[in-house]
Symmetry: C2
Subunit: 299 residues, 2 copies
Amino acid sequence: MDKAPFDSYLREISDLIGSRLSRLIPEGWDVPDNLVQSMSYSLMAGGKRLRPLLVIAAAESLGASREAAVPVACAVEMVHTYSLIHDDLPAMDNDDYRRGKPTNHKVFGEAMAILAGDGLLTHAFHFAVEAARYGVPAEAVLAIVEELSRYGGPAGMVGGQAADMEGEQGLTDAAHLQYIHEHKTGDLIVFSVKAGGRVGAGDPVQLQALETYGRAIGLAFQIQDDILDLTGDETKLGKKTQSDVKQGKVTYPYFHGLEQSREEVARLTRVAKEAVTGGSIPDPLRLVQIADYLLQRDH
Amino acid sequence: MDKAPFDSYLREISDLIGSRLSRLIPEGWDVPDNLVQSMSYSLMAGGKRLRPLLVIAAAESLGASREAAVPVACAVEMVHTYSLIHDDLPAMDNDDYRRGKPTNHKVFGEAMAILAGDGLLTHAFHFAVEAARYGVPAEAVLAIVEELSRYGGPAGMVGGQAADMEGEQGLTDAAHLQYIHEHKTGDLIVFSVKAGGRVGAGDPVQLQALETYGRAIGLAFQIQDDILDLTGDETKLGKKTQSDVKQGKVTYPYFHGLEQSREEVARLTRVAKEAVTGGSIPDPLRLVQIADYLLQRDH
């Protein structure tokens, strides 16, 4: 089967997700205007849509329809977006800008930003359940819901964020940093790939291959973020560089140096690609392209 | 069938829920200590456990086992608790005490309080899914998950809270107050009763009766809260009275007077009891007792 070039594929999926997310609230639901505006503001602020991309690419790598993967893809983007809104709050990272735009609380105030985050997190589960309408069996949808809770919750992303807060108090060592990377960023990426596998009715071997892939690119992604924070172009990043250093956050390059960090990103990318090209995944092309794309990104 | 006195029943369920919630994190999950402590602090701060009580009473009214209702009962208590933690934050109601104890952010700091709320909300869905292990069919569990998201989310509790924030800016009229009451407090109570009904494999007529019951006691509960805020005993309430007045919040007694407010609570209690004693609910005794108990409470 012929495939569109990777950049068209990226654009196609980003447009699809943007379009679905712009219809955030089902018809007939009565939601205060300012809450919808606050949730939509951050949701439509133009991120990379990496997590939705992974859900869809993983589902399609097993032959599932794109349509069936879209609700879960939106759910994970909503969870990611809520985490950014809460992370940016004055009590947390106290960031005024995100992707070059004022952060949610700078526009809507702190109270509404907290509620927009709470609303997005809660509403994400509505989207996750929607997968059942596209032929995904109820048991598979329940597994997706349980994993969205686990990888997004206290033992996942929220735990990583809590550990990161401790890190700012100077308690960090390399093992602690590993915990933060695995959970704060990695877990939701692993969830995305695995959930796509569940939409595609993956068997245990396939789900394991996808999890290995997700774990590797998740860690690579975070180390690359740390590298870009040190060396990146502020215009492309949409935020100031060296903010980690200024906030006293320890990062992978802090412990292991820039050179070794770059090698680790390259190694993890190889691990990821090998996991999905070993034979269990029928059509791994997009997953391979995504791994290469993440390795080369400059923002 | 002989039944234990109502106060033993209350204590029994409260102990059961407390015991299950004290094992919040599954074995083998790696969660930062301070996050677990912060979540547990508010979860074990000794609330009335009204919502778990409603889940269990509704499930048992249809003949379901108590065991099958416990996970969902815990889930709704976690969602309720997260909402209290976030409501108390300085950017929201800025409360220093809750149930006579320092609020979460006074003990753990604002960042951890935000994360404890996020963690409880996310982890609640883990508990909800657990119902499937007790024989509740996957489709019924999915309906519970979807409704926890809907009644707890932007069109439910979070929406009510957002509308309440607007109210503090002096925009409130009686219709706006109705929206706040229905969603901020009412929706999670309706969810509890309905979810219990789903655990008990309720048919549409039974679910409708339970929803009518839940809607009526939810509104009665909130009006009673407003009355107690005006007239209650600070020691019993565990917080200062007239805080609504001081914060410029409009309440049911503000619009309709104390006398009419008390009559409305009594009327709603009758509506609730009639809904479940009309014949569709096999064993409505506990639901009737709960309605009476809420009418008479002084805290």
